[in-house]
Structure formats: structure tokens, C-alpha cells
């Protein structure tokens, strides 16, 4: 009897750990939502929500081998005054239960992003089914539904295409940041820090992008690509950082995994290209004359990847010059990024957060007027770059031919 009681106690105690998912449903009764697009309502409702649902039979090689005939995903539209309303109303059109655990991307239309994103984040944060690792992006200049409806090649599932593009561009170019709901909410709630969200643009015609034609040609008429970082202030999109501004911001946020830097050398324009592949950014905020002052310290190691001029790569002086020029470019970009952010009065680098951590007393005085303080803030940037290798060659192959 005692044993039996013990068994039941053990079972009951494990309920809170394992609970939360009790109802049985077969995989074939679920509509796996891969991506959600949220736009400002065009009709009388507040939001237009689009759901990209996978059609399993058309993706996986089924019983007969090879994919099916139709497109791998189908997009359903719905509208409502709240996200939940739209989601529930969508079931009028969808024969299966919408299942969000595999949603890996949320696309927000630019129009809606400019109006504010707080409201739409709450249902995703609240729903246990929705993963907080879902990536958030903004559809630049377009509606989210256009981006969501595009068919893509290489990766059959459009959402994979988005995620992988974000990842590869982040690793190779360093002009975007992969941000998930958890990070986004963390940045919004953290005092003295504003989030940045990667933008996606649609090149070509949105109509043609939804037809199978888009994946049956070698040059698709519609393409999506990563472009820029959206600066958020107070939950609203206030502007975009583009190209080298983005790169400067990525350096500052210590998210740089790799990029390319080109500069003039020995009088020749854009003669050398280097690729930093390791970097560490150290930011500290101190007070100078009673005002906040940021010290930015960047260390990076780079490879030489291209040279359009002939010089002795083994000459220590030349190497020093290479290192200096690389540092200069980085420094310029970082400065530009800070200036751009100051223009938007959005502390996307988390300078305020650093004060909050290191000097909470001063932060109390500063926090109410932080946006303006940030805009006026002074800073010092130091970049140290280190030359590591020149690839599998010293001088360019043509250097001897000319002699």
C-alpha cells in the first residue's frame, strides 16, 4: 500500500514537468504553419494576417519518389482586429488545425512596423506552441503577404530560404542580424537598448513570384533578398540603416563573423580587398565632464583575399600599412553607424544598458532623457587589425609577367 502511494506521488509530482501537451492529434490533422505575415489591415479590420502552410505531399519525396505536382506551400489570408481573431477566422478556409510549433519566421509589413509592433508580439510570446526562437524580419517597402507568397528555388520551403539567407549573409557579409522573438522582446524591455530588425526586399514582380513559373526558370522573375536593418524606437520602426551603416552597427554589436573590406593602396583605387574573419568588440561607457562617453575597442584578424597592385607582401612595412588601412575603413564605418543611429535617436548599440549595469545611480538620472543624451553622446573608436595570411599565394600571378 505504501509503495502504491509512493508511485502515485511520483506520478503526480512529474505532472508539472511534463504537462502542457495532453491532447492527441495526428500529424495529418495539422496544418504546419511555416511562416506568418502580419500587415496593416486594408479593409475595416486592424490586421491582415497571412499564413504560409506547408503541403507535405508536395515537399517530401512521398511513396512514389520525387515531390508532388503542386507548390510546396499554400498561403491563406485572414483578417481581424487581433492576431488571435485572424488566426481563428482563418480556420474557415483551412481544413486542418493551424499548428505554430514549426513556425520559424514572422514577417512584419513595413507600414505596420512603423505604427508599432508591441501588440503583435504579445500573442506570439504568450502562446506555448509558438517558439521564441522564431525569427522576425520586416518586409521593406512591401507588404508581408507579398514576401510570404513568393516561391523560391534552391530551398523548396520558402521559410528555409529566408533563414538560410539570413545566416549565410550574416556569416559572409555582416550586413544583417538574425533576430528571434526572444532577443527582440529582450531588447525592447531592456532599458537603454533598442532593437534592430533585418529587412527583406522583393525584387521583381510579386504576381509572378507566386506562380510555379518562379521556380521553373534559371532566372526567377521575383526574388527576395536581405537588405538593411530596421531601427526600432519605442516599438516603432523609425528608419533604416543601409549598406556600410549596417556593417558599422554589426561591428559595434559584436556580431561580426566575416565581411570584406576594400581600400586604395599605393595610389591605386580599390587595390586591395581584405576579409576579417575573427573579431571582438569591447564597448565601455564612462563619464567625461559629467557626460556619457563611449569607448569602442575593436580587435580583428583578417586575410588578404584580393590584390590589384604589385607589392611585396613579406615587407613588414607594407603589412603595417595593410593593417592600418583596414582599421581605418572599419573605424569610418563604425563612426558613420553611430552618427546614423544618433540621427534616429535610437540607442541600438546598448550604450544606455551599459551605464545601467556599471553605474545604476547615474542611469536613474539619465534614463528619462536618454534618447536625447544618446544623440549628443561623444565616443572614441580604436580599431586594431592583424594580418594573418595571404591565401595560397604571395605576389599576384601576373607580377612576374610584366617584367
Amino acid at each position: 500500500m505504501k509503495k502504491l502511494v509512493l508511485v502515485f506521488i511520483l506520478i503526480i509530482f512529474s505532472i508539472p514537468i511534463l504537462g502542457g501537451c495532453w491532447n492527441q492529434r495526428e500529424l495529418t490533422d495539422l496544418a504546419l504553419v511555416l511562416a506568418v505575415g502580419i500587415d496593416k489591415g486594408e479593409g475595416d479590420k486592424k490586421y491582415d494576417v497571412t499564413f504560409q502552410v506547408v503541403v507535405p505531399g508536395n515537399v517530401a519525396s512521398g511513396q512514389n519518389g520525387g515531390g508532388g505536382q503542386g507548390p510546396p506551400v499554400v498561403v491563406y489570408e485572414s483578417s481581424g482586429d487581433s492576431i488571435t481573431e485572424a488566426s481563428r477566422k482563418a480556420t474557415k478556409k483551412i481544413p486542418r488545425r493551424l499548428y505554430y510549433a514549426h513556425t520559424s519566421i514572422v514577417v512584419i509589413g513595413e507600414e505596420l512596423a512603423r505604427e508599432g509592433i508591441y501588440n503583435i508580439l504579445d500573442p506570439m510570446d504568450r502562446d506555448p506552441e509558438f517558439r521564441t526562437t522564431t525569427v522576425v524580419i520586416i518586409a521593406k517597402d512591401k507588404r508581408a503577404e507579398d514576401i510570404i507568397s513568393i516561391l523560391t528555388n534552391l530551398d523548396k520551403l520558402p521559410m528555409n530560404r529566408f533563414i538560410k539567407t539570413l545566416e549565410s549573409a550574416e556569416a559572409m557579409l555582416g550586413e544583417n542580424i538574425k533576430l528571434n522573438i526572444d532577443d527582440l522582446i529582450g531588447a525592447i524591455t531592456s532599458p537603454g537598448k533598442e532593437p534592430v530588425i533585418s529587412g527583406f526586399v522583393l525584387e521583381g514582380s510579386p504576381e509572378k513570384g507566386t506562380s510555379p513559373q518562379n521556380i521553373s526558370t534559371t532566372r526567377p522573375p521575383a526574388m527576395v533578398s536581405v537588405d538593411g536593418l530596421g531601427v526600432i524606437r519605442g516599438g516603432k520602426l523609425v528608419g533604416w540603416l543601409n549598406n556600410f551603416h549596417v556593417r558599422g552597427a554589426v561591428w559595434l554589436l559584436n556580431k561580426m563573423k566575416g565581411t570584406e573590406i576594400k581600400f586604395d593602396f599605393e595610389g591605386k583605387k580599390d587595390a586591395v580587398t581584405t576579409t576579417p574573419y575573427l573579431s571582438d568588440t569591447d564597448v565601455s561607457v564612462t563619464f567625461k565632464n559629467g557626460k556619457p562617453f563611449a569607448n569602442v575597442d575593436i580587435d580583428t584578424a583578417f586575410k588578404l583575399s584580393e590584390m590589384d597592385t604589385d607589392f611585396d607582401i613579406e615587407d613588414p612595412h607594407k603589412i603595417e600599412e595593410l593593417e592600418k588601412k583596414t582599421s581605418d575603413v572599419i573605424k569610418k564605418e563604425v563612426e558613420a553607424a553611430i552618427k546614423e543611429a544618433q540621427k534616429y535617436k535610437a540607442d541600438i548599440f546598448g550604450f544606455g544598458e551599459r551605464i545601467h549595469k556599471s553605474n545604476p545611480k547615474r542611469w536613474k538620472e539619465l534614463k528619462d532623457d536618454w534618447d536625447n543624451q544618446f544623440a549628443k553622446m561623444d565616443y572614441k573608436i580604436q580599431v586594431h587589425s592583424y594580418y594573418r595570411e595571404s591565401g595560397v599565394r604571395g605576389k599576384p600571378f601576373w607580377s612576374d609577367m610584366n617584367k
Binding site: K3, L6, V7, L10, I11, S14, I15, L18, G19, C21, W22, N23, Q24, R25, E26, L27, T28, L30, L32, L34, V54, P56, G57, V59, A60, G62, Q63, Y99, A101, H102, S104, E129, R131, L157, N160
Partner: protein, 537 residues
């Protein structure tokens, strides 16, 4: 409850005595003793054996005395009898009346190694029916019994159940004496004691109890003896009968006694303080006490190096778990926890299941039951038609079943990996336990998902911890946990560190490996190196 007890009570009928021994009335002692008239004795034997066709009676005459030679055909060494008994008896002709013929025959004629005098009927029947030759002489109220056991027997062959890549290749046979010999050859110690008894009212099966005096605990030996003596059954056909009659807990699917057909395994277990029970007619020898971890130890573990055997052992434990919870994980993940499956796989499974009409549980049940039928059929089928099973089996569990939209390809893989994993348990009895509990866990998974699997495993763990084998906790040395006894659980320690016998079985004589057994490179002596240098110069 009361109905049940009533039913049980009704069935209790007086057990009939089928044993010859009990048929005799102890109050008439003259019936127990062999008579002087040999022909009366012979006809009594004939009568009591029902004139059985295999009883051979040969009349002999040694000069002045008449007698008879009796044996059971088939279980005796016929050549030996004719050569060493009949021939020598016929050579001798005694004419003098002064000689004690009985003593003379015993001492000078019968050329057999083991010879005994028998005075009562009990011993006579025991000897006769176990293959001895009985010589009755007129005028003597006793008989000579000569050891002539033999006949057609299976010779020692390779093991068929517990195979090992490396290690001895002999296996036990159906003959008790051969089996004890196989062990005796391995342990040449006077401390290896063999006790014998007979179990089975009708069958009178010889049972041997083996242990090493000084290592095995007296308590355990006594307990085994008591339990064996308590057995009151018609016959022992296999050691499986004994196993089921002496185990502590019947209502469990886990084996609490260990059985093996390998003499090397039995010998090493005797050296760990266990007691072996050999039943005549069974090539499977029981050893007790048995522990849960023991069923994951294969003979190869000790014959190959410790790193290899440790990793293989871990593999075995993992495959036991796969065999136990494989299909239930599939059911739980596809019907309750779709978020646990990587997106691409989830889509792939969804696509495969698109055309399957059954829920995951029914699908899994169909496949598992099909496989079990196949396995059973493969076991029972006569060799000649055995191929048919593999051909049909490949159809039932394979592409054809998938194309018929009865199951999904993933399910086929799950069933196959489960089946293969199940075969990697070294002892079949433990594999069966996993096979049986798998279905229970599948039901739990279908009802409440991973939670159900956890509840099932927890109940299983509690049950396992409650089991005992001859007083030793079944889960030892895991529960109760004992650090120094982990030498042979998940990791098989290298032999130099493999110091102690399991301390929950052996209490006194625990050390099995001496000090400083770790192999080292030979020390470079300075003398030697000097010499080398000299040679070089």
C-alpha cells in the same frame, strides 16, 4: 474474491503417488529387501516394469550358481557390457562350493570401474533405470550394480544461443555428467563441490548443485537447497521447470535466474560466488543469484580489451532501451509532441502518413504484431519451408506494405530498428521482457504521450527495485548504489582494476585479483644501456 478461493479449493484433489518409492509399504520391511531366489527377483522386476520391451534379461551360469544379468537397452553402453561383463562372466567356471560366489564375481570377474552392492529394491530400480547393469545371483539376497551408463548421446557442440566472437566454443549437452565435467575441466580446485539430488516424482531427474566452497555464501547455498527440496512435481523436462519453481517473484517479466549454455560463463559465475544448478536432460544451466546488470554482460566482454568491451556494453544497454521504447517514442512524438520533431522531418513524416488510414498507434501496433508473428513463425517453421518466411516477411514489413498504404515508411524503419535492437541483448530472457513491456509502453504513449512513457518507465523502475534474487537486490549495485561495485556494470574495468568479486553476493572472500597487476614496460637497466654504448663505440 470468494469465488476465486472457492474455485481454487475445489480443485484441491489428493495428489496420487506415482513414485515407486512411496508405493512400498514401510511397515512390511521384507518387501523392501531383495529375496534369495533370483528367479523370483527377476520375475518381480519383469512384472513391475510391465514386461517392458527395453528390459534385457540374460540368464547366466557360473558353474554351480545360476544368475541373471539385467539392463535397460538403449541407455547402457552395450559394447562395454558384452566385453567387460558378459564375456568375463562366461570365462569363469566355479566348481568349488567353498568360494563365496558373490564376492568372487564382484572382485574378479566384472571388469568395470564403478561397482556397488545393492540390498534393497529402491536402489535396484534407481540403478537399473539410470543405466546400470544389475547382476542377480541365486542364493544371495543382494545384487551387483555395475556402472555401464552410455548409449546414444549428443556430443559437445558449439553454442547455438549465446555466441561469442572470441572465447571457448564448447557448449553444454543434455548429459549431466558431461556438463559437470566441462566445468570441472575449467576449475581444477578441490573446492568445487558438486552435490546431487533427484527431483521429479516420476521422472527422478538427476540434479547437480555446483558451488565453490569458500567463495559462495553458505546462506545462499542453503536457500537454493531448500528451494530445490521443496519442489514436488511429476517431472523436470528442462532447467526451465526448476527456474520457474525456485524464483522469488512469479509475476514479473524480468528473469531472476540466469541461464546459459556456455561452461565458461558458468565457471566464471561460480567464481563470483554464484551457485549453478544443472538438470539432467537440459543443456541450459541455471545460476543464481541473478542481477539485472548481468543480463547485459556478454562473454566477449571479458575476452577482449576493456575499452572495446565497455563501449560494446554501452551499445547493448542503448539498444535495450530502443527495443523498449522505440515505437512508443514514435507514437508519442507524432501524436502529441509534433514540436519535438525537426521541421523538415515533421513535414516528411506528415507527407508519408498522408495516405495511411490509421492513427499512429494502430499503425505501430499492426507492424509490431506482424513482426512478432513473423518471428514466432520463423522459429516454428520446419527448416525445409523456412525460406518462405523470409520472402513473405520482406513483403509484409517493407515496401509492399508501404505501397499498399497500410503503414508509412518511417514506421517500417522504427519497427526494424526495434527488432534489430532487441536481438542485441545477450540473454534472450531479458530480450523477451523488453519485447513484452514494449506493448504496454505503446499503449501508455498512445494515451498520454511522453508523460505516459515516463510513468511506464517509472513503474518499471520501481518494480525492478522491488525484485530480489535469492535475497540479493535485483538492481544491485545500482539500487542500492554501491561505488566500489561498479567494476562490472556500465564500464568493465581493466583486469588489474577488476579486483573484487561482487560484494552483495560474496561477503567474506572478495578479492579476486592480486596487487600490482597493471602491466608496465620493462625497466631500462643502466647496465644494459652501458653495454649498448660500448658495442656502438
Amino acid at each position: 474474491m470468494s469465488i476465486l478461493t472457492k474455485m481454487l479449493k475445489k480443485k484441491q484433489v489428493q495428489r496420487k503417488n506415482d513414485n515407486y518409492r512411496q508405493k512400498l509399504d514401510p511397515s512390511k520391511p521384507e518387501e523392501l529387501v531383495i529375496q534369495k531366489d533370483y528367479s523370483a527377483n527377476v520375475s518381480r522386476i519383469e512384472e513391475e516394469l510391465g514386461h517392458s520391451a527395453d528390459l534385457v534379461i540374460r540368464q547366466i551360469n557360473i558353474g554351480i550358481v545360476n544368475g541373471a544379468l539385467l539392463f535397460i537397452d538403449g541407455i547402457v553402453d552395450g559394447k562395454g557390457i558384452s566385453e567387460f561383463v558378459v564375456e568375463t562372466l562366461m570365462d569363469k567356471q566355479i566348481s568349488s562350493r567353498e568360494v563365496d560366489v558373490f564376492q568372487y564375481v564382484m572382485d574378479q570377474t566384472v571388469a568395470l570401474g564403478s561397482i556397488k552392492t545393492i540390498t534393497n529394491w529402491n536402489d535396484l530400480y534407481n540403478a537399473l533405470l539410470s543405466g546400470c547393469t544389475i547382476i542377480l545371483l541365486n542364493g544371495y539376497n543382494k545384487a551387483i550394480s555395475g556402472e555401464t551408463r552410455g548409449g546414444e548421446l549428443r556430443s559437445i557442440a558449439e553454442p547455438t544461443q549465446q555466441l561469442a566472437i572470441r572465447g571457448p566454443k564448447d557448449a553444454f549437452t543434455e548429459t549431466l555428467r558431461t556438463n559437470t565435467a566441462l566445468i570441472r575441466r575449467r576449475i581444477k580446485s578441490p573446492n568445487l563441490w558438486v552435490e546431487s539430488m533427484k527431483i521429479g516424482k516420476v521422472s527422478q531427474t538427476d540434479i547437480a548443485l555446483l558451488y565453490i566452497k569458500g567463495i559462495a555464501e553458505e546462506e545462499i547455498i542453503q536457500e537454493v537447497k531448500e528451494r530445490l527440496q521443496r519442489i514436488d512435481i511429476d517431472a523436470i523436462m528442462d532447467s526451465g521447470y526448476i527456474e520457474q519453481l525456485i524464483e522469488e517473484q512469479t509475476f514479473t517479466s524480468f528473469p531472476t535466474t540466469y541461464h546459459t549454455e556456455r561452461p565458461d560463463v558458468v565457471s566464471s559465475q561460480l567464481l563470483e560466488g554464484r551457485v549453478a544448478i544443472i538438470a539432467d536432460g537440459s543443456p541450459f544451466v541455471l545460476t543464481v543469484p541473478a542481477l539485472f546488470v548481468q543480463f547485459f554482460q556478454a562473454p566477449d566482454d571479458y575476452y577482449s580489451r576493456f575499452d572495446l568491451s565497455t563501449s560494446v556494453r554501452l551499445l547493448r544497454i542503448i539498444s535495450f532501451l530502443i527495443a523498449l521504447i522505440g515505437p512508443s517514442l514514435y507514437i508519442a512524438a507524432t501524436t502529441f509532441h509534433q514540436e519535438m520533431i525537426p521541421t523538415t522531418l515533421a513535414i516528411a513524416i506528415a507527407a508519408q502518413r498522408e495516405n495511411v488510414p490509421f492513427p499512429a498507434f494502430v499503425e505501430a501496433l499492426i507492424m509490431e504484431v506482424t513482426f512478432e508473428i513473423l518471428r514466432e513463425a520463423g522459429l516454428r517453421l520446419p527448416r525445409a519451408v523456412g525460406q518462405a518466411v523470409s520472402i513473405v516477411g520482406a513483403l509484409v514489413i517493407g515496401q509492399a506494405a508501404v505501397q499498399a498504404s497500410i503503414v508509412s515508411p518511417v514506421m517500417v524503419i522504427v519497427v526494424s530498428i526495434t527488432a534489430i535492437a532487441n536481438f542485441s541483448t545477450p540473454v534472450f530472457a531479458m530480450a523477451i521482457a523488453a519485447r513484452l513491456l514494449r506493448f504496454a509502453l505503446m499503449v501508455m504513449a498512445a494515451l498520454i504521450g511522453f508523460y505516459g512513457i515516463m510513468v511506464g518507465l517509472m513503474i518499471m523502475a520501481i518494480h525492478l527495485c522491488s525484485l530480489r534474487s535469492f535475497g540479493v537486490p535485483y538492481m544491485a549495485p545500482l539500487a542500492p548504489f554501491s561505488g566500489p561495485n561498479q567494476q562490472d556494470v556500465f564500464i568493465r574495468y581493466p583486469f588489474w582494476a577488476f579486483k573484487d568479486r561482487p560484494k552483495f553476493i560474496v561477503k567474506g572472500n572478495v578479492v579476486r585479483t592480486g596487487e600490482n597487476q597493471k602491466p608496465k614496460p620493462p625497466k631500462q637497466s643502466s647496465h644494459k644501456s652501458d653495454k649498448l654504448e660500448e658495442n656502438e663505440s
